[in-house]
């Protein structure tokens, strides 16, 4: 292990567990925050799943697996990412294509591939593969992306996003585009391009509207007027706002969320689990949750900015942005600020793909940080 001498010095006098984590290339603070959020998630999941322990157990197994992946990824040297990035991206594209042929159809959309032992959502993997490839592409030079490189980046973003949108899974597609744009932004995309992009987006909105599926348009309309269809498309958002609102300042208490317990709240173990938290623990609970996410994001950003190379810095910040995007989009959607897009709450929602993907990302950040050069450490 290439633990820097200064790091070794810093470890002296610390507890042995701390030293063990350090020797594994793990960041104790980030790890602690991740464990905290995951544990809180399990507590909420227990009520959301009607007090059924089996759900919590399955989620715990997934988390365990996820943290294993995290530790494994943390051991990977930086050069390896540079090598694997294109292949990982290519594999993701293959999976995204494959999903149309062997994918499982649920509610009119194909998003899952069943490999027998695990069910994988390629869209979730793309959210890690795309920034990795973009960072690889854009970090080869310190210059801001422009010209052919920018064009290539745009193409690399559009390919998986387009495939995901065809599944159809507009929410994930938008997130993939968003994370791609964040990478471009961090790489120094000129403000002129950014302004042009924003204007172009506004101009193309009516066109996009025409190409949307009926249910997608309905979701946006319902987002604007939930009472348009209170028992249909508007039901989710109305019930989730009732759950959040009835939580008040301190909440009804653990296992006392009637909306969730009596199943008025839809998707309460997955996409809408934040509403369960809000109902049972009130504004205080949601505040703590938001602060935990912010702490995770800022810790990753801190680790990223002190990295020695452009690749690590960009990758780290991208992963921070990814976690933030996930968490914010989910909470905003559940509380009625964004249309219902069906994205899980990171580390909390029931479901494996997102947990493993994001924990792997966190592992990469820790690994990169542990292997930064001595010089940069003193910066």
């Amino acid at each position: 292990m290439n633990v820097s001498p200064s790091a070794s010095r810093a470890l002296e006098g610390r507890p042995s567990f701390h030293r063990l984590l350090r020797s594994l290339g793990l960041d104790p603070l980030l790890l602690a925050l991740l464990v905290l959020v995951s544990a809180a998630g399990l507590v909420v999941l227990y009520t959301a799943g009607d007090g059924a322990g089996s759900l919590v157990l399955r989620q715990a197994v997934r988390l365990f697996l996820g943290f294993g992946v995290l530790v494994a990824v943390a051991q990977v040297p930086v050069g390896y990412y540079r090598f694997v990035a294109p292949w990982f991206y290519a594999l993701t594209i293959v999976l995204l294509v494959l999903v149309f042929f062997v994918g499982e159809r649920t509610l009119g959309a194909v998003r899952w591939i069943n490999f027998g032992v695990v069910r994988v959502q390629p869209g979730e993997i793309a959210q890690l593969a795309l920034p990795l490839l973009l960072v690889w592409l854009l970090s080869s030079t310190p210059d801001p992306p422009r010209g052919g490189r920018l064009l290539a980046a745009a193409g690399l973003i559009a390919l998986p996003a387009g495939l995901i949108a065809l599944e159809p899974d507009l929410g994930t597609a938008v997130l993939v585009v968003a994370i791609g744009l964040v990478v471009l932004f961090l790489a120094g995309l000129s403000w002129r391009w950014i302004a042009a992009g924003v204007l172009g987006l506004l101009a193309s909105a009516p066109v996009a509207w025409r190409f949307m599926h009926h249910y997608q348009r309905e979701r946006i309309l319902v987002f604007l007027h939930p009472s348009r269809d209170p028992l249909g498309a508007g039901y989710h958002i109305i019930q989730s706002q009732i759950a959040i609102g009835s939580g008040g300042l301190l909440g009804g208490g653990w296992m006392h969320g009637s909306q969730a317990y009596l199943n008025f709240l839809p998707e309460q173990t997955t996409d809408f689990i934040f509403a369960v938290l809000a109902e049972e623990f009130g504004l205080l609970g949601t505040l703590v949750m938001i602060l935990l996410y912010l702490a995770i994001v800022f810790r990753i950003l801190w680790l990223a900015q002190r990295a020695s190379d452009r690749f690590s810095r960009l990758l780290g910040a991208s992963i921070a942005a990814l976690i933030f995007l996930y968490a914010f989009v989910n909470m905003a959607m559940v509380s009625g600020l964004l249309p219902v897009v069906g994205e899980p709450l990171p580390f909390v929602s029931f479901g494996g793909s997102s947990i493993v993907t994001l924990l792997a990302g966190c592992g990469a950040v820790m690994g990169l940080d542990a292997r930064r050069s001595h010089l940069d450490h003193h910066l």
Binding site: F185, T286, A317, F328
Partner: protein, 618 residues
């Protein structure tokens, strides 16, 4: 630790890192703004609008399940049950337990017969009632049905047998019109239920006392507050508010007398009304033919209803309060009071009565029922022998205006105001009425015919009994009533119903009440009286007056010919007894019964006999 020093060392990387840090700062700023917006939204939902959402959440999960109140019992004045609730077994379906609703219904139909009517009702109720309420599938199961069902219930998780109260009328047809019946509430009634007292499977009073006193009998439903889940399945009971049972009613009628009157009427179509002249209490009120009110509970079968509705004798029609008949000669005692009041005659006025009367200056002949006439006649003889010519001439002299002015005092031409729905007002003939109804002018002949209760006269049996009671009570005018007392099951108090009275009729010579009563006694007592057939040696004197109203064209009654049923005269009889201290006043009308004295008289006598012999007993 100076950036500038590094810039000197590594001029190519430094701008990149600075740019990166700047971008990171912008990104971080963006994130913080986004989180701030999210926090504001959460504060809005959880703090500012908390009360609103909390109320929505409570409304989401709680429902009120009504507990229907037990309906009040109906008794007669002595406590004989006229309408009660008997336990009955019903098969009901709890939809939250049933796995396959249609399958269970089909399966249950193999075990116990479920008529198509019940199935239709079941599916209608399934549509309109919320999922946490059980829905009755089949009511009134026999014990054999219950025994057959019991071992199979395990196969049908949604089905259960419950004991529900069912309305029962032990007197069957004897009290049919009076007590009425309850039936399933109609969609229209349910939509006009502002208090929300009724459920889709409630029963509601549809006729008679059951309908008139519905609000008293029904009570106030209680409710259970239950918690339900999103699928509407009941989870647990949060609280119970018991129902207020309906009040029990004591009616003024005497069930025994009611039975006597009914038996006396026998197979004939008609009505009997007996009143207590002192109080206005209805002692008996029967309309024939009747029907069995028990057929209507839980909904009448189509075939039964069609049969009743198309019966030419109209069994559903309550003749006692809604049947309108010509009073014929029974009107004569009341007209006598008008004649005396306006001084048209005195008790000593005597005129010669040939067999006919002709209005001066015309050629139209009005005939007496006795072709050769009655000779010299005073008021006493005119009433005893029902002398038509006497009343023709006197009423013509009185004039229709004064007749119309005086006879409403006895309650003619307007509803008596009895506490029952569906009372008709009859017709007191008047020029204004004729102009309005028939658009024809009034003729002198119309006045003449009015003098013997024919022409345009129409009265209900109740009106006739009421007028008789006023006469018997020497002008006291008690409004007829059916409600004797209300028993409030909560306080255990028995509240007597209030009697209502109109201002009494005051005569210049009060002795004339007794005079006319004696004249009416003569109708029964005198060998020449038209109801002499009733004059057996009674322990009490009866005052009566016969009436025989022509249904077909005018002809003499004296020549007796067997006519087709529809053309036979209606028999009318009024009576009260004892003459000098009347305890009961009766009116009887027999449709197409023929002679009033022969057909209707004995029925009135039987009722009076039964009442007064019972009256004398302790």
């Amino acid at each position: 630790m100076s950036l500038r020093r590094f810039a000197a060392h590594r001029p190519r990387t430094l701008p990149e890192k600075v740019r990166y840090l700047r971008r990171l700062a912008v990104l971080t700023g963006g994130m913080l703004v986004a989180v701030l917006i999210l926090l504001l939204q959460l504060v809005r939902l959880q703090i500012l609008d908390h009360t609103h959402y909390h109320r929505l959440a409570v409304g989401n999960r709680t429902r009120l399940v009504p507990i229907l109140p037990p309906r009040g019992i109906i008794y007669d004045r002595r406590g004989v049950v006229l309408a009660e609730n008997i336990p009955s077994y019903a098969l009901e379906i709890r939809r939250d337990r049933a796995r396959d609703l249609a399958g269970e219904i089909t399966g249950l139909a193999h075990v116990v017969r479920i008529p198509k009517r019940d199935r239709r009702r079941f599916w209608r109720l399934v549509r309109v009632s919320p999922p946490y309420l059980p829905v009755p599938l089949r009511e009134d199961l026999s014990t054999a049905d219950v025994a057959r069902l019991a071992p199979h219930l395990e196969r049908f998780p949604g089905a259960r047998i419950v004991a529900r109260p069912r309305r029962y009328y032990p007197l069957w047809r004897i009290s049919a019109h009076l007590v009425g019946y309850v039936g399933p509430i109609s969609a229209r009634q349910l939509s006009h239920d502002p208090g929300g007292l009724y459920q889709a499977d409630s029963e509601v009073g549809d006729a008679g006392v059951e309908q008139t006193f519905e609000t008293l009998l029904y009570g106030i439903p209680g409710y259970r507050t239950i918690e339900i889940d999103a699928q509407g399945r009941p989870i647990r009971t949060l609280g119970v508010r018991p129902p207020t049972p309906g009040a029990s009613l004591y009616l003024t009628i005497d069930a025994r007398l009611q039975a006597v009157a009914s038996r006396a009427l026998g197979q004939q179509a008609g009505a009997v009304v007996a009143l207590n002249p002192d109080t206005g209490a209805v002692l008996a009120m029967v309309s024939h033919p009747g029907y069995d009110p028990n057929d209507f509970v839980d909904g009448v079968r189509r075939r039964t209803y069609e049969a009743l509705a198309h019966d030419p004798f109209k069994p559903l029609f309550d003749r006692a309060i809604a049947g309108e008949y010509a009073p014929a000669s029974t009107i004569k005692p009341f007209i006598s009071f008008a004649l005396l009041h306006y001084g048209i005659l005195t008790p000593r006025t005597t005129i010669y009565c040939p067999g006919t009367f002709v209005i001066p200056g015309t050629h139209h002949i009005f005939r007496d029922w006795l072709p050769w006439g009655h000779g010299w006649t005073d008021l006493k003889k005119a009433i005893t022998q029902s002398v038509d010519v006497f009343f023709y001439r006197m009423t013509f002299r009185l004039g229709i205006r004064r007749l119309d002015h005086y006879l409403p005092l006895f309650g003619f031409g307007r509803p008596t105001g009895i506490d029952l729905r569906g009372e008709r007002s009859g017709v007191l003939p008047s020029p204004a009425w004729k102009e309005a109804t028939l658009h024809r002018p009034w003729y002198g002949g119309d006045t003449v015919m009015s003098g013997i209760g024919q022409g345009y006269w129409l009265v209900t049996p109740l009106q006739l009994a009421h007028a008789t009671a006023i006469l018997a009570a020497h002008g006291r005018r008690e409004v007829p009533r059916i409600l004797h007392a209300i028993y409030d099951p909560l306080s255990g108090q028995r509240i007597p119903a209030r009697a209502r009275a109109l201002a009494p009729i005051r005569l210049a010579h009060p002795d004339r009440w007794t005079m006319i009563a004696r004249d009416m006694h003569n109708v029964v007592q005198s060998p020449n009286g038209t109801a002499h057939n009733l004059s057996a040696d009674e322990p009490y004197p009866i005052a009566g007056k016969t009436g025989t109203s022509q249904v077909g064209k005018y002809r003499s009654d004296f020549i007796h010919v067997k006519l087709p049923y529809r053309e036979r005269d209606n028999a009318v009889f009024i009576a009260f007894a004892p003459v000098l201290d009347p305890k009961i006043a009766v009116a009887v009308i027999i449709e197409h019964g023929g002679d009033g004295g022969l057909a209707a008289g004995p029925i009135a006598q039987k009722v009076i006999d039964a009442y007064l012999s019972g009256y004398r007993l302790p």
